[in-house]
């Protein structure tokens, strides 16, 4: 979907990941990240491929697949790609578009600086990762 600058900033303020940012900080996020669109069926992260990026979903839906098997779905406000960048390893899952995806993208090499510039985002991201870890532990037990 096409959005004005103000509409994009308003949308970012409604996402949990960016909930603690002031308006100038949200504007900076909107300028640091680029908007991208992916058609249905395209892989955005590819298992075993180098050089991936960090994505925040603005609209649409993706599937998380490992060896072709769907493990989860992600939609508006969810993010992906951070694990591979933080660990410096290729992704262990494919991310495949289920519904036309509109996302914000940040190149992998920029993620560390971005999180250091915006520690509130780092904290929110950490909480989400902790939740994922807890849920993964529950499934195993």
């Amino acid at each position: 979907m096409a959005m004005t600058q103000q509409e994009l900033v308003d949308m970012l303020s409604s996402l949990t990941l960016f909930a603690d940012l002031t308006r100038p900080q949200l504007e900076q996020v909107a300028h640091k990240m680029t908007e991208e669109s992916f058609p249905v069926g395209q892989r955005i992260l590819r298992q075993g491929f180098t050089g991936t990026g960090f994505y925040v979903i603005l609209d649409g839906e993706v599937a998380v697949k490992i060896d072709g098997e769907e493990r989860a779905k992600l939609a508006k406000g969810d993010f992906f790609g951070e694990m591979s960048i933080l660990l410096g390893e290729p992704p262990v899952a494919d991310i495949v578009t289920l519904r036309q995806l509109h996302a914000l993208h940040l190149g992998g090499p920029e993620l560390e600086g971005f999180l250091r510039d915006h520690p509130q985002v780092m904290y929110r991201m950490l909480k989400t990762i902790a939740l994922r870890l807890r849920n993964a532990s529950r499934w195993r037990s």
């Binding site: 979907m1 096409a2 959005m3 004005t4 600058q5 103000q6 994009l8 002031t22 308006r23 100038p24 900080q25 504007e27 900076q28 909107a30 300028h31 640091k32 908007e35 991208e36 669109s37 992916f38 058609p39 249905v40 069926g41 395209q42 892989r43 590819r46 298992q47 075993g48 491929f49 180098t50 050089g51 991936t52 990026g53 494919d94 036309q100 509109h102 993208h105 940040l106 190149g107 992998g108 090499p109 920029e110």
Partner: protein, 505 residues
């Protein structure tokens, strides 16, 4: 009426209609013509050139043409050294740009570029219906109907190459009071002025560089710190040609580069403007008075009513959502060429974008797109030359070392070969890399050139076994970018021995 009748492509039915006479429209028309696909090329402009009829205002283009290269100009590999000529198979229509430059720079001036495109139209024998403005679009059965100032055009496939040409200003209060980059006047009219430029991309720095010797003071502001291309290892960021304002800032020379968002712009009591900013580091308010404020805030796609027939768009530039072949993701049969192609992100490895927004990337996208249109809509069968098994490794490494498509569109376009046991090895030409690695097909290999986060440039090989996703392998780089090493030959041979066993033997 007599005059109207003499112009090419009168309104009517055509298999394909191409809209736009900038580099994208001309390149698409050229390859349609080469394949014998009847089409109309229409343009609202009175002459070819597209954006190069006006921009850039100051100095020169950002894309090089090196007249003296290690390969002759009639060689395909020369295209890597000449980013501004359009592609052609005929000797007199290719590598036109270097013949029109005066030797003062490897970056052509805007008028030289405009002349280059006009010469291409003439030498390639392209016909264009100028001053025919596309105004509205509708669907009738399987056809698209384009209403223009000259009448209606019906077509099966429509290719829009209308640029990202419509000035865009954010909806922040006060932007309606100020000029856009596109409204920039002659440099001398800014003599002695306090200038405020909103935006720290290349267009903002182009103005700052061009007006350094005229303005009394120049402030550039946008929320995020400016990126420099020499740091991003790509064309992303402010180009080396525009870094003078940084040096002036660092020396205290009347240039100020601020990281701040614009809260609002007001008219100042004594004339001029007051720009109220919020600093990105902490949000402190900052008020700057200026005689002139220019919004270097980019452009949007002038897609007119395409959204009403279902074309999905995204982002502040109003880009269409597209497939890997630059077809609308929501309305099959509508394609895009030229700078709009940058809406297809591709692999974007390490965050580095392709050069689809520039001629040296868009010309290859246009050719690949036309070949796709020809095969999928018009049943054209493109040649798929057979390759001898013992030649494949050398061919792949030579492509990685020299192919202009792979070097201009890193991690985006690849050279592919199918490895079918029955048909042998077939040259599948240049393909979108994201398409190749995601589609399930027969055994195949593709090679691309990629840059990592350290700036290292190396070949990447994608080997696909029948019915399975491709597997990525990186080959070794080389200080002189010659990838045809013994080490790479051995690694590539080993990679190919599995998937291609049937075809290679």
């Amino acid at each position: 009426m007599a005059e109207l009748a003499q112009r090419p492509f009168p309104p009517g039915d055509y298999p394909v209609v191409v809209v736009g006479s900038g580099p994208g429209g001309l390149q698409a028309s050229y390859f349609l013509k080469r394949l014998g696909i009847e089409h109309a090329l229409i343009s609202a402009d009175p002459a070819p050139g597209g954006m190069f009829r006006r921009f850039p205002f100051f100095q020169r283009l950002l894309s090089w043409t090196k007249p003296y290269a290690p390969v002759p100009r009639d060689n395909r590999f020369y295209e890597w050294y000449d980013w501004n000529s359009l592609l052609a198979d005929e000797a007199d229509a290719r590598a036109i740009m270097p013949t029109l430059m005066d030797g003062t720079s490897s970056f052509p001036s805007r008028p030289e570029m405009e002349a280059n495109l006009a010469a291409f139209v003439e030498r390639a024998g392209l016909r264009v219906r100028y001053e025919c403005r596309w105004e509205a679009t509708r669907r009738e059965g399987d056809c698209f109907v384009l209403s223009t100032t000259d009448g209606e055009y019906r077509c099966q496939v429509a290719i829009f190459a209308v640029g990202i040409a419509e000035p865009y200003k954010p909806d922040t209060p006060g932007f309606d009071l100020i000029a856009h980059y596109a409204d920039t006047r002659a440099a001398e009219s800014y003599a002695g002025k306090r200038l405020f430029i909103v935006g720290k991309e290349n267009s903002g720095f182009e103005l700052a560089t061009g007006l350094l010797q005229w303005a009394q003071r120049i402030v550039l502001a946008s929320p995020r710190p400016a990126k420099l291309s020499v740091n991003t290892h790509s064309l992303l960021g402010v180009r080396a040609r525009y870094v003078q304002p940084f040096e002036d800032q660092n020396l205290g020379g009347g240039v100020f580069i601020l990281n701040a968002s614009i809260d609002r712009i007001e008219r100042a009591a004594g004339g001029g403007f007051r720009v109220l900013c919020l600093r990105s580091d902490g949000g402190a308010e900052l008020s700057v008075d200026a005689d002139e404020v220019i919004a270097a805030t980019g452009f949007q796609c002038p897609l007119r009513d395409l959204q009403q027939i279902g074309v999905a768009v995204f982002g502040r530039s109003n880009l269409p959502a597209m497939t890997n072949y630059w077809e609308s993701a929501t309305v099959p049969g509508i394609y895009f060429a030229g700078t709009i192609g940058q809406g297809v992100a591709g692999m974007k490895k390490y965050g580095q974008p392709a050069n689809s927004g520039a001629v040296h990337g868009a010309r290859y996208n246009a050719r690949t797109m036309v070949y796709h249109v020809a095969t999928t809509h018009f049943g054209v069968e493109l040649p798929r030359p057979e390759v001898k098994p013992d030649a494949l490794v050398d061919l792949l490494l030579t492509e990685a070392t020299r192919a202009p498509e792979l070097w201009n569109q890193k991690s985006y376009l690849a050279r592919a070969f199918s490895l079918d046991a029955g048909q042998g090895i077939r040259d599948e030409g240049i393909v979108p890399l994201a398409q190749f690695v995601d589609e399930e097909g027969g055994a195949a290999v593709a090679i691309a050139v990629e840059t990592d986060d350290t700036g290292d440039i190396h070949p990447a090989v994608y080997v696909r076994e029948a019915g399975r996703p491709a597997i990525e392998s990186l080959l070794a780089s080389n200080p002189l970018h010659d990838f045809r090493s013994t080490e790479n030959r051995a690694q590539l041979s080993s990679l190919l021995s599995g998937a291609s066993a049937g075809a290679i033997r």
